[in-house]
Structure formats: C-alpha cells, structure tokens
C-alpha cells in the first residue's frame, strides 16, 4: 500500500538536517511504505512569532530536503500573518518559485480567527495553495496552558474557513481537536483534516470518516514528534473500508498535491 505523509517536520530543533540523517529518514519511511513526505519545516524553532528572516530560514530548510530527495519531499511554506500582507505575499511567492511550495503551514503565531488571516487567504487564492492550520482543543489542559491568542480551537479554524469558503483548509491534528472538531467542520466543505499528532485514540478515525467522508481525511504523522509505524497502524487498524483507507493514506494527498 502506498502512503504519503502530509504532516512532517524532518528537520527539528537543529537536528535532522545532515544528508545522512535525511537519508535515514527516507530509508525508514520507504520501509513502511511511505513514498513521499510533505515537510512543514521546524515551525517552532524561533518561538511563536518568527520574523520575516526566520520564516525564510524555516522554509529554506524545506528547500534543502527537496534538493537531496526531490522525488520524495514536497513542502508547505510557513508564513506569519501577523507580519502583514507585504511580507506574507513576498515569502509565499519566494517559496512557490524556489521550492514549488504546495501549500501554506500555519502554527501558533496567532489565532486562526484573527483578522490578519486575510493575508493568508489572499496568498492562498493568488498562488492556489491549501492552508494547513495547527488546531488543538482549548478545553483540555493544553488549552489552558497556551493562550487563546495563539492557540486555535477547531471553532477558530472553522471561523477562518467560513470567512474564506474559496480557500482549501486542512485542519491539523485529529487527536488534538477530537470529536468536537470533526463536528465543527462537518458542514464546511472547504475543510479537510489531517490525522497527525497525539496518541492513537480509538474511534476518531471511524468518526471522521463517518461524518466527513474519507475524501476529507489526510494521513499525517507529525514526525519526529510521533512514530510513523503507530500513526499508520492506527489507520490500518481502523474499522473502515479498504477503499477509504487507501484514500486517507495516499489517494487524497496525490490529488491535492498533484503527485504521480
């Protein structure tokens, strides 16, 4: 079975960038049936609010991976909408031109319902890029720990998607936004989800497929924070049809990113 991992951070905390480390990641991935990984960069390396130069460095890391294994790595560019329209558009253009960026990755620079997100929507429209938004429930302990000004609850990601129905949104972290998050975006056809992050809690994959349909679910791991054998095994073990499994593990990403 072919697998594409839409949510990875191969270079993290200063490690993972050496060619032999990337080779190892590639070899390990291939052994699990992974034919490609989408790199989202080390988005937390410079703290919650990277400046323009720091965003560029994060995105250059993706370029580095793609130069070494061009057929294996795709990437999304990390943008900070709080830096304003000019910076956002310039970096998006640079990444699309230099690295063939396939999407935009947003982390915890701001809440997804903030007004500065209009710059992201503009970049997404102009360069035809999906927006992958870090999302986590604010009702658990993590929600109480991370301020809402930078932590996006599924209701916040849904607000962004509702304001910009023409933008394709991928709400990241299935276990993080949970059952409530799935319900929140069910009636927003421009929103898909990824299965990255968190422990492989039972029942969530099945619920996502039942409520959203398998077409709206992408496999993602959040490597290296998670183990790909576990994140894949969770989908292989889910009580869904083989066809839906194939869509989640590969087909949906192949369509979205134009893979062969």
């Amino acid at each position: 079975m072919r697998i594409f991992d839409i949510h990875t951070h191969p270079i993290l905390m200063g490690s993972g960038a050496k060619p032999e480390e990337i080779k190892q990641l590639y070899t390990e991935g291939k052994a699990l049936g992974i034919v490609g990984m989408n790199s989202l960069g080390d988005v937390s390396f410079y703290g919650h609010c990277p400046d323009a130069g720091q965003c560029a460095k994060i995105n250059d890391g993706n370029g580095h991976l793609q130069r070494l294994f061009p057929d294996f790595f795709t990437s999304f560019c990390h943008l900070n909408p709080t830096l304003g329209e000019r910076v956002v558009m310039k970096e998006a253009e640079r990444c699309v031109t230099n690295f063939n960026s396939k999407g935009i990755k947003l982390e915890k620079t701001n809440n997804a319902s903030a007004s500065c997100m209009k710059h992201i929507a503009k970049a997404a429209r102009e360069f035809n890029l999906p927006v992958l938004q870090h999302t986590w429930t604010v009702h658990g302990i993590a929600g109480r720990r991370v301020p809402r000004s930078i932590q996006s609850d599924p209701t916040d990601t849904a607000t962004f998607a509702r304001r910009h129905p023409e933008v394709k949104v991928i709400m990241a972290h299935l276990t993080g936004f949970g059952f409530r998050g799935i319900a929140e975006v069910k009636h927003l056809p421009n929103v898909s989800i990824d299965t990255s992050a968190g422990y492989p809690e039972e029942g969530l994959i099945e619920y996502a497929v039942e409520q959203l349909g398998a077409d709206r679910v992408y496999y993602g791991s959040d490597l290296p924070i998670r183990e790909q054998s576990v994140t894949i095994g969770r989908i292989l073990g889910a009580r869904i049809t083989p066809k839906d499994r194939q869509k989640i593990l590969y087909d949906n990403a192949a369509i979205l990113l134009g893979l062969n």
Binding site: G140, E201, E202, S229, I232, G233, G237
Partner: protein, 251 residues
C-alpha cells in the same frame, strides 16, 4: 505471539469505543498478534469502591483464558485488605493495579506500608498506572494529571525491594525516572517519538520494557506496530513482546 500487559474491559464514557465482550476482545487482540493480555475493569476507574467492577470482570473473563484479570485496588479505602482477600478468593490473580490520580491519593498515603507488605506476602505484583489518556486531549470536565514522576521516584526509593510495572508513563518521564531508579519496569503504551524503542533502549535494558497497548482506549494495531516495526534487535522485541511479561507475571 505477544502478551499485552495493559488492557481494559468495560465502559469508557469519553469515546464511542467498540463494546467488547471478553470473547470478542480476546479475538480482536488475537487479530493483532496478541495471544494473552492482562486486563483490568474500566468501570472501576470512576467507582468510589472498585470491587463491584472487579467482580463483574472476574465473571466476564472466566470463559476466556487468554484474558488474565488484574483487579483495580484502592489501597486508601478502609477496606483495602478486604478487596485483596476477595480478589484472591475469586481468581488466581498475579497482580493488582492502582490508579492514584483517578482515585485521588498520593503514593505517600500511610496505608501503603501494610498494603505493600500484603502484596509481598501474597506474591502479587503491583501495577502503578500513571495515566489512561493524554492530559492535552482530556474531556473538558476533567482536570486529571498523570501521577507525578517525582512521587513515583520517591515511592520506588521508599520500597527498594519492590519492582512495580508502570503503565501509561510518558517517554520523557520514563527517561527521567530511569536515571534515578532501577527497581521498576514500564509498558510502552504512552511512550512515543520517532524510533521510540531505539530511544528508550538507550536508557533502559530491554528486560524492563513490556508491550502494553492500552486497548481499547488506544489503537491496538498502532501500538503493536510500534514494537513489530521497531528498528531494534529481534531478541529485544521478543523480550518486550512476551518474555518479560511471562517472567514478571509468572505466566
């Protein structure tokens, strides 16, 4: 075939899990390469006295020898001795499990001294469950943290001749604890990072790690694949997958 040291039977109020009978649960585990499992009653997690749930579990698993019952005991109740006596009478138990965070007590409670003595006298192993879910995704009405690693370290030092199994411990907590104490083993259910087992084996010998899936709360397949597909020697996989559990629980 594997032995799973951390599974549950019963109702969990926070997720629409498949409702397994003992027989169906055992065949679900078999489908994923698990031939025997230590199983505890989920219904005891939120009961003030765990015994009604323990009794039900003993009855439920009786026709299913692949499931080895591990009762949940609350050593801080006035009836802790009665709980153990009754469990010993009801089934040939090999271990008891405690849930300090769900049952609201510290490991320094005065009744631990006689409790630990009774376990030793009856050759019962102690399973100390650190958590049943990730605090970051916990149900909104709960605010339960895992059993503090500093408390566990003090406990292990206070009972140097005991050797409990820690279930549900996070990888960073386990690594920290491994640098402080040697008299414990741990399951791998809540340890996860890229190359989890390669990483854990840098701080613990394979003899002290046991396969635990925390099924049915977590994906059995995902958890088993963490071991099956790990880049560690085959010998270590066998130890973690079954040999250690056989030795630990005298199976």
């Amino acid at each position: 075939m594997h032995i799973d040291s951390n599974t549950y039977l019963g109702h969990w109020p926070f997720a629409p899990l498949p409702s397994y009978t003992a027989g169906k649960f055992a065949s679900h585990l078999t489908d994923h390469g698990i031939q025997q499992a230590l199983v505890s009653p989920l219904n005891a997690v939120f009961l003030p006295d765990p015994m009604p749930a323990n009794r039900k579990m003993f009855t439920a698993v009786k026709p299913t020898p692949a499931l080895i019952p591990v009762p949940i005991i609350n050593p801080t109740l006035g009836t802790w001795q009665d709980q153990i006596d009754e469990c010993l009478h009801l089934a040939p138990i090999r271990a008891v499990k405690i849930l300090p965070n769900y049952h609201n007590y510290r490991l320094t409670h005065r009744q631990f001294e006689p409790f630990m003595e009774t376990l030793a006298t009856n050759k019962l192993k102690l399973i100390l469950n650190v958590r049943l879910n990730d605090e970051r995704t916990q149900y909104f009405a709960l605010n339960l943290k895992g059993v503090p690693q500093t408390d566990i370290a003090k406990f292990l030092k206070h009972y140097p001749t005991s050797h409990p199994l820690l279930t549900g411990i996070f990888r960073p907590e386990l690594k920290q604890l491994a640098s402080q104490c040697e008299n414990f083993s741990a399951d791998i259910s809540f340890c996860e990072w890229r190359n989890t087992l390669v990483d854990l084996l840098t701080v613990l010998p394979p003899q002290r790690l046991l396969l635990g899936t925390c099924s049915p709360l977590l994906s059995t397949r995902g958890q088993v694949d963490k071991l099956n597909l790990a880049g560690i020697p085959k010998k270590s996989k066998t130890l973690i997958g079954s040999t250690n559990a056989k030795r630990f629980f005298h199976l």
